[in-house]
Symmetry: C2
Subunit: 445 residues, 2 copies
């Protein structure tokens, strides 16, 4: 039997996930739009035999530029460039189902999958927030449930389009002058409440059939969507118990949706702050916290909690009365996670800002390589994770440190691959089968 | 003073522009989705110091697969990959204003411009045809005039977005913890009949400010649009007189639109069929024509002329009665060009299909390198062209031949650059200024 192995994803973000990372001496404040920076990161992750790398995204200019780097290269563009600089690593781009059309987006992912030799993945998001909505002709963001209804129909259309060419459509009979078999083309012929798409895609079925489908929403709608479609899930979990509970729940939902629970991989996020001793790691964490401008964190926290400016005080705990999650539009599960973290550990607002500065709700773990490897092993072997979404607080240095000092330990313990081996596609790396074409399923035969 | 120099663009298309090219022994029937094939072509064009390369596109699966290769990698994806394999050459992608949203498309072009170091160009199309419309929720294609009205507003929005960051927005003051200057961000705040876009783009202003704007429609609407926005125009012209007339007209319109006529470059298409003697070139052309399946061309011609199947006969001329251009939706000027070509040269339908097989209405020129260089020089020096859109009938061989045998002649005659030199951006190669940011114009000061 095959040994169960960890899956590691490198979540890349300009100068790193810590909000103050750009202020460190090593950091390049223009890194967010520097292809060389990202090329170096991708090659480092590939040296560490990571399964994949990943870019978050939203079609809007976030936050205030006075506070920290804003803007980013469009993820599919950047990943296409990185595809040519790497050979093995998967390339996962975030794209919104609310602010794209299925025909264009399905084609772009199929094109990336072809160009990269089967390494494309799509982190499917519905995009919270009114700012993004106003960039696409809307006055307000669509309601949470409506965004997810549109997302489900978007996926159905995209899957029809990705299957619109059978794998052996191209005949290439030069002598007869017959290039392809028109009978193997299946126009989408989709008519639904959100989309009408008539034709077939104008690119052949790609090496993976379609990109690896990834999802990161943890609300009830998000989990239902993941159970139905997702092959990998990124999730923010602060404690082993919460992570185990999430893991069991999402696997159970997947099975109830008629899918093999092993065909959905759960990857909690972790922000590794490394030191050769625990004290060194804590000192590194303190340097990062010292670079946070607390007033900036205060304003962001007030927005997340949907409070008015001035409602929070830096050296007091959160107010006793806060709105319930059901009243929150947008990042519902993140809201609850942050409130519970503050309550559980009785954090002042200043302390909470420090804890959120690194991972925005994902767990930050400061320690030695051994301690982080222990944490990873514990979660992996005790039903909390199939792998991890590694969120380096400072880039490139924290990724270098993880690859040079943590990956060797994981390999020595037999938890992680030592080389890529003959598997070629991202789906193969995650231990998932290539999807069959829906037009060839027994129901159609 | 600067010597006026030719501009050359390589129009790349799978196995070549001739519809039967895929049937030749040298051709790879899978070339349309092969990055290595396109990489080789791009590097050949760069060896020939071409200004740019170009990919056509439409968001639909064209025609019948039984007849010839269909489908293509999404152009911006392919050009991003080619950006990493080249250093100097411009990268022009076709994208539709009818079937994209300005925010997403503006960002993708800005991202390509950044990743390529200022080499992005956008061939702006409005996309004719009901097939494409039905992939985007419409029953019919929008009327010609409406497509152009939307295109103009799309451009206005895109230009606002590309100017939404001033060039010096990023401050990068680590000590003070100030990354950017929010006062240098200008949200689009656009409200029009087709688009409402509130925010600023989420990527900084790119090396060129925005991509080179290219246009290829030759209808009255198309020419008005080009005069207002385009910096380069691709055009199909069969005779020197027609090309001179088009050239004078579009330059005049540009001037009347308040722009410098030299800031719009006119590039007619030419399909060069080369041979070391004229007889050899004619023989090569005959081989290509012999590979055309005439019944396929017949059906396409009937569709172009909006006739019913069976209305045309291979060995007779076109019917005397055909609808006027004004009754045609879609490729209006192409319709007229094809009818005039057939009438002028009294071609049978079979002959017309042969003439269209290479360039779909663009001039095909079979001859020696000297003869083609003469044609190019004549058009360039007699007010018919600022350069040419080179459409190799067979790829890679016809591009190799052009670069190896025609480019040296053009260089020897002082008509074309011998090396790229210090100029870096696509707009610099075309001899155009970097556009000023509209928010810094005197009207705003």
């Amino acid at each position: 039997m095959t040994t169960r192995r960890l899956h590691l994803n490198a979540f890349l973000m300009s100068t790193g996930h810590h909000e103050a990372s750009w202020r460190l001496p090593e950091s390049d404040p223009y890194a967010h739009v520097d292809l060389r920076h990202y090329t170096r990161l991708a090659q480092t992750a590939e040296r560490g035999t990571f399964d994949s790398l990943f870019l978050a995204d939203s079609p809007q200019l976030w936050g205030e530029l006075g506070q920290r780097p804003a803007g980013a290269l469009e993820p599919l563009t950047l990943l296409t460039a990185l595809a040519t600089a790497t050979e093995h690593i998967g390339l996962i781009a975030t794209a919104s189902t609310s602010y794209n059309s299925p025909y264009n987006l399905a084609r772009r992912f199929a094109s990336l999958d072809i160009v990269s030799g089967g390494r494309a993945g799509w982190n499917i998001v519905t995009t919270a927030g009114a700012e993004a909505a106003r960039n696409f002709g809307l006055d307000h963001e669509p309601a949470h449930a409506e965004r997810y209804a549109r997302a489900a129909e978007f996926l159905d259309v995209a899957l029809k389009l990705w299957d619109s060419w059978e794998d052996d459509t191209i005949v290439a009979d030069k002598a007869a002058g017959v290039w392809g078999d028109d009978d193997k083309i299946h126009p989408a012929r989709h008519e639904g409440p959100y989309f009408r798409v008539g034709g077939a895609l104008n690119v052949p079925r790609s090496p993976q059939g379609y990109p690896l489908l990834v999802q990161a929403g943890s609300s009830a709608d998000g989990k239902a969507f993941a159970a139905r479609y997702a092959e990998a899930v990124f999730t923010a979990q602060q404690t082993l118990a919460d992570a185990q509970s999430f893991y069991a729940d999402i696997k159970d939902r997947t099975e109830r949706a008629g899918r093999h629970p092993g065909h959905l991989k759960v990857l909690p996020g972790i922000v590794p702050v490394l030191g050769s001793t625990e004290a060194e790691a804590r000192a590194a964490e303190q340097v990062l916290e010292d670079h946070i401008v607390p007033e900036h964190g205060l304003r962001r926290l007030e927005r997340l909690l949907q409070l008015a400016p001035g409602d929070l005080e830096l050296d007091r705990q959160l107010p006793a009365e806060l709105p319930p999650e059901s009243a929150v539009e947008g990042a519902k599960s993140r809201y609850t996670l942050v409130v519970e973290l503050a309550r559980r550990e009785r954090l002042t607002v200043r302390q909470l800002i420090g804890r959120l500065g690194g991972g925005r709700g994902h767990q930050t773990f400061a320690g030695t390589p051994e301690q982080i490897a222990d944490r990873i092993e514990t979660w992996f072997t005790r039903g909390a994770a199939d792998g991890f979404n590694i969120m380096p607080p400072v880039l490139p240095s924290s990724l270098d440190a993880f690859v040079d000092h943590v990956v060797p330990l994981l390999r020595a313990r037999g938890l992680f691959r030592t080389e890529y081996g003959p598997k070629r596609t991202l789906r193969e790396r995650y231990g998932l089968p290539r999807p069959a074409n829906q037009h060839l399923s027994p129901a159609f035969a």
